[in-house]
């Protein structure tokens, strides 16, 4: 296809490097240096999508990040699909595949016309607001239709083949934006020796200078730009980041930069290269030189393809050698807009008219237009555009000096392109990100960055300083200030001489009047991406929304992926006019990170797949894997859940493991239990303060179970602590609670009792813990140790330092199963050795490995709690029937004591943990089931407590459960009923939670 809108010469494209690309299945040509948007315009592609709500055809409006319409889907393959790409920011590469996202089944045909109109009437202003207030079922109906009809891009269905990086950076000065202000700031900072990061979202530095014909020092501006960039490139202290959008400005001068490393080269990054990189920068000082976006004017049918902002027209002509049409009508409220007409004329195309809303425009560019003989219509406006898929003409009429009404007769002009300029809006987005509220400035006719606590400077158009000479000067000053603030001395920078252009005063006008009232005039769009019109905003104001923040939520203005970069100020102006207020009186506009959409890949970086979250393995992990263990996540630990034999179901495996342990001997890898080494002369006293029971008399060589409570008296962890020496203890915690308990101990030591001499250290990973349990555990251990294991020498709750399988070991005779049990702790690297030795010798005892599920069943048979399963932060030791573990006579008021004594904690009818036996022994209650005393009570039934633990016990050949029942400890033998979701009601009897061996004879052998 021919590039019918490509000019014969000019632009920063390389005509010797032709490229082909695909849009909606058709092949087109462009050149290296094009953006996708400029190539589309060169090929005369008018329609790039259909609008969200009304399904109106939409074309390219702008040339940069502010583009609301040309938001395309990219990707040659399923795996490389990328949604949300602004064609104006995507550099063209050979073989690029793109498609429109808004428009089904085709953007060209108007199949959606009827439905689109229906959608329009179905979605009046306040649609979202109102819909969300109604049942969700309604939204489901609307949403599927809207999404299908409008389309918002889609995620790939296959894994992204590219890799992404994250990198942490530090610098003295981060300069954001590579236009004249940014260039002079970066140059000044760089020459002083400061560590500078200089980022710009475009492929080359230069900003506005790239798209204009202006001169610096009498030569094309690009010569100065090249010289500066060349010099900066030579400095070791400078990092240049083109194609890098500073997307977020966060607290304490932390900024994120989204660098697109290979998006301009190919669909998929070359081997060994990251596609994108997220720089996380801590900057001492930041210079924002982010420029300004031109505001389009709001007039009837201003969304017909061919309507553009004036500056974009100049950019396409000057930078890309593309004139996006043949006959231009320019409407402007200010002098700068004239440049589009001048460039259009100089490109050899026809300027039909310059329509200036001002009565008496004066200024250099106005003069230049007159000299070129252009048709200047003053005191007038384009009140309406004709055309549907492309502009075919305009209606021009004189308007009043205040811009509020049409004052004369309408004349029609033929045109295919309408450029409009309502002035400029400084790009203040980043300065808003940390909460600084922008301030309206009447002279600039826009919001300027507000006061901030960040170490932030601004230069150039972001300050409303639109001339190149002022931008250069402000950049220099910002550079000097930043350099001085970081303690460096500045060196001389000579600024180039810019052309001085005299400009007349602009007119403050946003919304062009029509012959009809706004509500009856053809649609006047404010926010293209969300299809918000001037009439819609007026409706919102009429319905009583007075703050712009409410108007925005009501209309969805600014809620698109472009965050209303083009439309927000116009929308505020329309609201202000409707409310008879000034713009600042309606509120302000706040922007949030990110400035432009960031891919999930860049945010994730390498933190995906196996690197998403660390996994912790015990020293015996490989053995478990080899034995076919099923694993369970406990915190970051991978713990064996159960060890099925080939063909075995989970239930069969659990029954086998449970029976084998109580009949002979089972083994559990308990290495993940938290272990905290506690030393110091006050260690014992400290334990007494953080545990509810007594520790004063625990002798060396003895172990004791302890309960840990918060100051509210509620249990939060438990475990066995052993006395290793007079001033030396080993505390064990739950697997998941280890880090929290350590921080808890440190908190109290450091903030409440710093006078105590005690030290804590985590030793969880230092030890492997191998727990053998069952009547044959002693015989098995005896084969691997010389230690006297007799009950007289090594009793229950003793520990011994000894040797097991030839390696030093601490053996603890403690039990979580109720069986005779030994926890063998060896240095972690010996874990696998001892584990294998145990199996070598254990074969004759049918040594059976078991995991967390069997551990849970065996402990439940004994009524032992699991903190975090049978407790939830609202139960104290007495609720658990564990008053035996609460000391009453300790001299120090330990943590939890006062809390447990609160009025609410001593109520008789608190929920208390009891055992529950279902009347039908085969029925296993679901955990979480809520109990009631009267299953016939009217709904809502009074609930008396829930099931916390429930299992099938193979040893008891029946189900067992533990749960809370109000006043349950005094209700032994009474019935509780559990109505289930399927309509059945399970009856159970309250009993002791100790289902097996209530006297503890099995462990005391």
């Amino acid at each position: 296809m021919t590039q019918k809108n490509r000019l014969q010469s000019g632009g920063r494209i390389d005509r010797s490097k032709p490229l082909t690309f695909t849009y909606n299945g058709k092949k087109f040509n462009g050149f290296l240096g094009d953006t996708l948007a400029s190539a589309m315009l060169a090929n005369g592609i008018d329609i790039v999508g259909r609008s969200f709500k009304y399904s109106r055809p939409r074309g390219i409006v702008a040339a940069g990040a502010e583009e609301p319409n040309a938001v395309l889907q990219l990707g040659a393959t399923e795996a490389t699909q990328v949604p949300n790409v602004r064609a104006t920011q995507q550099e063209l590469f050979n073989g690029l595949v793109s498609s429109s996202t808004n428009g089904w089944p085709s953007v060209e045909t108007d199949l959606m016309g009827t439905i689109g109109k229906m959608g329009g009437s179905m979605m009046p202003p306040g649609f979202y607001y109102k819909t969300f207030m109604y049942p969700k079922s309604l939204w489901d109906t609307y949403e599927s239709m809207i999404r299908k009809a409008a389309g918002l891009g889609r995620s790939p269905l296959e894994s992204d083949p590219d890799t992404y990086d994250k990198i942490n950076q530090h610098c003295d000065v981060l300069v954001v934006g590579g236009g004249p202000a940014g260039l002079s700031a970066a140059l000044t900072a760089a020459r002083s020796g400061a560590r500078v990061i200089f980022a710009d979202e475009q492929n080359e530095f230069g900003g506005s200078l790239l798209s204009s014909k202006e001169t610096l020092n009498g030569a094309p501006a690009s010569e100065w730009v090249n010289a500066v960039v060349e010099e900066l490139r030579g400095y070791d202290n400078v990092m240049l980041l083109p194609r890098s959008t500073v997307n977020g400005y966060h607290d304490h001068n932390f900024l994120t930069i989204h660098e697109r490393c290979t998006d301009h080269i190919a669909d998929i990054a070359p081997a060994g290269q990251a596609r994108q990189r997220l720089h996380r920068v801590r900057a001492k000082w930041v210079v924002l030189a982010t420029g300004a976006h031109e505001r389009p004017l709001v007039f009837a049918n201003n969304d017909v393809p061919g309507c553009m902002v004036a500056n974009a027209v100049s950019t396409y002509i000057n930078r890309y050698g593309v004139a996006p049409g043949n006959e231009l009508v320019l409407m402007t409220t200010n002098d700068s807009g004239y440049q589009a007409a001048l460039d259009w004329h100089d490109a050899g195309r026809k300027v039909v008219a310059i329509v200036d809303t001002r009565q008496n425009p004066k200024g250099d560019r106005v003069e230049a237009s007159r000299q070129r003989g252009l048709n200047l219509i003053t005191g007038s406006a384009v009140i309406e555009v004709q055309g549907s898929k492309r502009v075919s003409g305009v209606s021009v009429a004189p308007i009043s000096a205040d811009g509020n009404k049409v004052t004369g007769s309408v004349s029609k002009l033929s045109a295919d392109t309408v450029a409009s300029s309502g002035g400029w809006s400084p790009v203040i987005h980043l300065s808003c990100h940390t909460g600084s509220r922008p301030v309206w400035n009447d002279d600039v006719v826009g919001f300027l960055p507000g006061p901030t606590v960040q170490k932030q400077l601004t230069a150039g158009a972001i300050n409303g300083s639109y001339s190149t000479s002022t931008a250069l000067f402000e950049g220099l000053n910002a550079g000097l200030k930043a350099v001085a603030e970081v303690g460096l001395s500045a060196s001389e920078v000579m600024l180039p001489k810019a052309e001085e252009v005299n400009e007349g005063a602009p007119m403050t006008l946003f919304h062009i009047p029509h012959l009809k009232p706004t509500s009856q005039a053809p649609k006047q769009f404010v926010d293209y991406q969300t299809d918000v019109t001037a009439a819609g905003i007026e409706v919102a104001c009429r319905e009583g929304y007075e703050s712009i923040e409410h108007v925005k939520r009501y209309t969805a203005m600014g809620f698109g992926t472009d965050q209303g970069k083009l439309g927000n100020i116009n929308g505020m102006a329309v609201a202000a006019k409707a409310l008879n207020k000034t713009i600042p009186e309606t509120g302000t506009t706040i922007f949030r990170p990110n400035y432009t959409p960031v891919s999930f890949g860049a945010i994730a970086g390498r933190d995906c797949g196996a690197l998403f979250d660390p996994e912790r393995y015990s020293a015996m992990h490989k053995w478990h894997v080899a034995r076919g263990a099923k694993f369970e996540d406990v915190g970051q630990w991978k713990r064996p859940w159960y060890f099925p034999k080939p063909g075995e179901s989970m239930k069969e495996a659990l029954n086998r493991e449970c029976l084998a342990t109580r009949e002979s001997v089972g083994i559990l890898d308990a290495s993940t239990l938290g272990k905290i080494d506690i030393q110091g002369k006050d260690a014992r006293e400290f334990l007494g303060r953080v545990y509810t029971n007594a520790w004063a008399k625990l002798a060396v060589g003895k172990c004791r179970y302890g309960l840990m409570c918060g100051e509210d008296g509620m249990v939060f962890d438990d475990g066995v602590t052993s006395c290793l020496g007079e001033n030396h203890f080993l505390m064990t915690t739950t697997t998941g609670g280890a880090a929290r308990v350590l921080e808890w101990l440190e908190l109290y030591h450091q903030t409440e009792w710093p006078e105590m001499e005690v030290y804590f250290n985590t030793v969880t990973d230092h030890w492997s813990t191998l727990t053998i349990s069952g009547p044959n555990s002693r015989k098995l251990l005896a084969e691997l140790t010389d230690c006297d294991l007799s009950n007289e020498n090594f009793a229950f709750m003793d520990w011994k330092q000894t040797t097991v399988a030839g390696v030093p070991a601490r053996v603890f005779r403690i039990s979580f199963t109720g069986e005779c049990s030994y926890e063998i702790n060896v240095q972690a690297n010996y874990g696998m050795h001892v584990w294998e030795k145990l199996f070598e010798h254990g074969e004759k005892f049918n040594l059976t490995p078991y995991g967390t599920e069997t551990m849970h069943i065996l402990r439940a048979e004994k009524g032992f709690i699991i903190a975090g399963q049978d407790t939830d932060g609202s139960v104290h030791p007495f609720d658990l029937g564990m008053g035996w573990c609460v000391a009453q006579k300790k001299p120090f008021s330990y943590i939890g004591k006062r809390g447990m004594a609160r009025e609410d904690c001593v109520r008789e009818d608190r929920k208390q943990l009891v055992g529950l036996k279902t009347t039908d022994p085969k029925v296993v209650l679901p955990e979480g089931a809520q109990g009631v005393l009267d299953p016939k009570a009217p709904i809502p039934m009074p609930m008396v407590g829930h099931i916390t633990s429930s299992y099938w016990s193979a040893n008891l050949d029946r189900s067992i459960a533990m749960g809370f029942v109000k006043g349950g400890l005094n209700k032994m033998g009474e019935k509780v009923f559990y109505p289930l979701a399927d309509g059945t009601v399970v009856e159970a009897e309250i009993c002791s939670p100790i289902f097996l061996d209530p006297k503890g004879e099995r462990q005391n052998v």
């Binding site: 304490h252 909460g435 606590v453 509210d712 921080e743 440190e746 908190l747 903030t751």
Partner: protein, 99 residues
């Protein structure tokens, strides 16, 4: 993301290394048994939520494991000072500013 100076490590580190632990200067009553339920409840549950100057307890959890205090402006997120446990803040809210 905050940039926090740990007074024990004596250097700035990223917020990721720290945990916030709530309002600072909540001293455990020396004689809990002498507290009424109301007093104990106030010690346990009642905390300030000021707009402006706030004193917070932080811990360098993934660093030196030491607790320390931060005076922070909850509106601007500026950290006005850091100081060790047992020390008093030098930046305090003007009266009427800490509702």
């Amino acid at each position: 993301m905050f940039h926090i100076y740990c007074p024990h490590c004596a250097e700035y580190r990223e917020e990721e290394e720290f945990h916030a632990s709530g309002q600072a200067h909540i001293a455990r009553p020396l004689d809990p048994e002498a507290c009424s339920d109301k007093e104990w409840g106030e010690y346990l549950y009642f905390r300030k939520n000021p707009r402006g100057i706030h004193h917070e307890l932080w811990v360098h959890a993934a660093g030196c494991r030491k607790f320390f205090n931060i005076t922070r402006d909850t509106q601007t997120y500026e950290i006005k000072e850091v100081y060790k446990i047992g020390e008093q803040p030098s930046v305090v809210a003007q009266s009427g500013n800490s509702k």
